[in-house]
Amino acid sequence: MFEYFMQATWSPYVAGASIGVLICLSFLLADRPLGCSSAFIKARGMIEKSVSAESVKKKEYYRDVIPQVDWSFMIIPGVIIGAFISAMLSGQFHLYWVPSMWGNVFGYNAAIRIFWALAGGILLGLGARWAGGCTSGHGLSGSSQLSLASIVTAACFFAGGIATAFVIFGIIGG
């Protein structure tokens, strides 16, 4: 049994089905969809609050998504810990700056990779809040609830992602 937890990877069907159970538990125990992007705006709001409480009070968005430590904020520290435990158990944990697939095409310069990762992260954060959720909130929890908006949003995540990936690796790096 324990050996199973030390395996490097599980079948994506097994991991996926287990995540499906986890989504059911989120609704049952927390009355919430399992989402990840609201944690980042909460973190952002708490950072802003520590600099100037006034500016957070003035911003309308922080009345809808309250910057506080709560269920949806704790998801992100949890994910970091959970992935760390999984990677440690299988001996996969190692520190690196540049993923090899990126490095093989664009080189192993960490500053260049961080620049583009930062640009990607900014668009990801902007887009996630613009659309009201991310791959987990819309893609998994929303689609499972048969939300029309969530299914359309998830299709757009992949449409935009596929087009951009083909430009990056097919045209620029190809």
């Binding site: 991991a15 996926g16 990840c36 968005y61 704790m74 996630a128 048969l146 951009t164």
Partner: protein, 187 residues
């Protein structure tokens, strides 16, 4: 009324539950292979379908589980309403970031847990900046583009005027057919 409402209102219990849910989620994302940059980018390049397989398996289980629990009154669902201006435009902006970074908001945190420093100093830092930009723009977007082109219905069953049970059976069969087709095509 869902049965566990008192638990939903206990703030400290919810903080612990959120952490435990996150730990399980991160563990499963890593075991599923999707905290790996190359797995996500190769999905977007349509080379490796691990992400699709994992997501569809999750949706197949959750769609059935959530609607059964809802039927018996254990949970409430919260399907999101949407508009073209919010969901399509936001989704496409997200998609560009998804490919540039090579992670999404959940898997980026998972990648940090496996030691990816670009995910930490690039991805997570960018997400904090990007969500902040949205908070700044929100008052202007809220009355403008986010309202443009509301979807005709909230749920698929309302849209199709079909009983929810039939829609679920159809969706489950369609997802299984897609996964079988992927196998058949050698993915």
């Amino acid at each position: 009324m869902p049965m566990l409402t008192p638990l939903h209102q206990k703030k400290s219990a919810q903080i612990v539950l959120g952490l435990l849910t996150g730990i399980a989620f991160g563990f499963l994302l890593q075991k599923g292979g999707v905290t790996e940059y190359s797995v996500i980018v190769n999905q977007l390049l349509l080379v490796d379908f691990t992400v699709m397989k994992l997501m569809l398996s999750a949706v197949m289980v959750a769609m059935l589980g959530l609607h059964i629990m809802k039927y018996y009154g254990y949970v409430q669902l919260h399907p999101a309403e949407g508009t073209i201006g919010a969901n399509v435009i936001g989704g496409l902006i997200f998609g560009v970031g998804f490919a540039l970074l090579g992670y999404c908001p959940g898997t980026v945190a998972g990648a940090v847990g496996t030691g990816a420093l670009d995910a930490l100093f690039g991805g997570m830092a960018g997400l904090v900046i990007g969500t902040g930009i949205f908070a700044d723009l929100y008052p202007r977007l809220k009355t403008g583009i986010l309202k443009k082109g509301p979807f005709p219905s909230v749920t698929v069953q309302e849209f199709l005027h079909l009983p929810v049970g039939i829609v679920i059976v159809f969706m489950e069969v369609a997802m299984i057919a897609f996964l079988v087709l992927l196998q058949y095509l050698g993915h």
